[in-house]
């Protein structure tokens, strides 16, 4: 994984597999506090207690097709490499919250990358899931919610290429507006 946004895309797959229909991704960056935080919250089936303690072990997975899972292990590795850590809270039947922290200034903290592309991809591939993306910096906060967008536009689904492309543009502009760091803006989102 070369960027944090790809890690996020990966972790969200866990939420989808846990049958979550509400997934929220939150990023808080702060230069004065030298912190960079990523939180991913879902309302999926949660992680059973006996697995929770070992979940960042690459050889632990609930999957049966292959005997290992690297998603959380990789994110933990990247966080620890950049002077931070990974915390997981989960309750069976309620959902899971993953919180990865990094030192903002650490040279090994990866850039966020093409987060807009990731959000648009998730919206395109999972029309039935409610996604919330929230990003805050010292200069402000931006929040995107797929439900609110659907309601506002009076649409059943956002799954149409031109619309998704415009949504990508809208998120990009807003992230630029709050000075979010390390983002690759792919001018042609979709």
């Amino acid at each position: 994984m070369k960027t944090l946004s790809l890690n996020i895309l990966d972790i969200v797959q866990n939420s989808l597999r846990a049958k979550a229909d509400e997934i929220s991704i939150e990023i808080n960056e702060s230069v004065p506090e030298d912190s960079y935080q990523i939180m991913i919250r879902d309302n999926g089936t949660g992680i059973p207690e006996e697995i929770l303690a070992r979940v960042t072990d690459p050889f632990v997975t609930t999957r049966t097709k292959r005997k290992m899972g690297l998603g959380l292990a990789l994110l933990k590795y990247h966080a620890e490499l950049a002077g931070g850590d990974l915390k997981i809270e989960s309750e069976t039947g309620k959902g899971t919250e993953i919180k990865a922290t990094f030192l903002y200034s650490h040279i090994d903290r990866q850039p966020l990358g093409d987060i807009v592309g990731v959000i648009v991809l998730l919206l395109a591939a999972n029309p039935g899931i409610n996604f919330v993306y929230q990003h805050s910096t010292e200069s402000g906060k931006y929040r995107f919610s797929s439900v609110e967008t659907k309601d506002y536009l009076e649409l059943e689904t956002l799954n149409e290429r031109n619309l998704l492309s415009d949504i990508g543009g809208m998120i990009s502009e807003n992230l630029k507006g709050i000075g979010a760091s390390g983002i690759v803006y792919n001018e042609k989102v979709l």
Binding site: M1, Q13, K65, L121, L153, R161, I167, N174, G177
Partner: protein
């Protein structure tokens, strides 16, 4: 040099209709609606092409995101009625990025090592004409069970 200039121009063109809020989004849609009718795809899975991109750690690390964006964009641009979704690991981590293509009325076929060049071949040959291309994962393969 010329290129850089051109890009700059494009950017300013774009900035004229920048969308920064839901209100802008709505406005643009309403403008669109009056001009041309917005295609609402009839998502009848039996009659359209289904593409599933394996999007687990192994796939993402090998470029599945780029491949999926390519399919979303190109199938639409080439006017092929298709639905592109994502799935978990299919167990072919060595061959990532992998995709599963199901043409209407046919058994799904899994392609491995799908870079953009192969993705283009898959659209032009397999999806358009049914001609098979390199990279098929040859197993007695059943459709992906999301329950795993």
């Amino acid at each position: 040099m010329g290129n850089a200039k051109k890009q700059k121009l494009n950017l300013t063109d774009k900035s004229m209709s920048k969308i920064t809020s839901l209100a802008d989004l709505k406005k643009k849609r309403e403008e669109l609606k009056s001009g041309l009718d917005i295609r609402t795809k009839a998502l009848d899975p039996e009659n359209i092409v289904q593409v599933k991109v394996a999007m687990a750690t192994c796939g993402i690390a090998s470029g599945a995101k780029t491949v999926m964006e390519f399919f979303l964009e190109q199938l639409d641009r080439r006017n092929i009625a298709a639905v592109v979704t994502q799935t978990g690991c299919m167990g072919y981590c060595y061959a990532e990025p992998t995709i599963e293509v199901k043409l209407p009325g046919q058994d799904p076929v899994v392609f491995g090592f799908v870079d953009l060049k192969r993705a283009d071949q898959i659209i032009e040959k397999y999806i358009k004409t049914g001609e098979l291309v390199d990279g098929i994962i040859p197993v007695n393969y059943q459709i992906i069970d999301l329950k795993e």
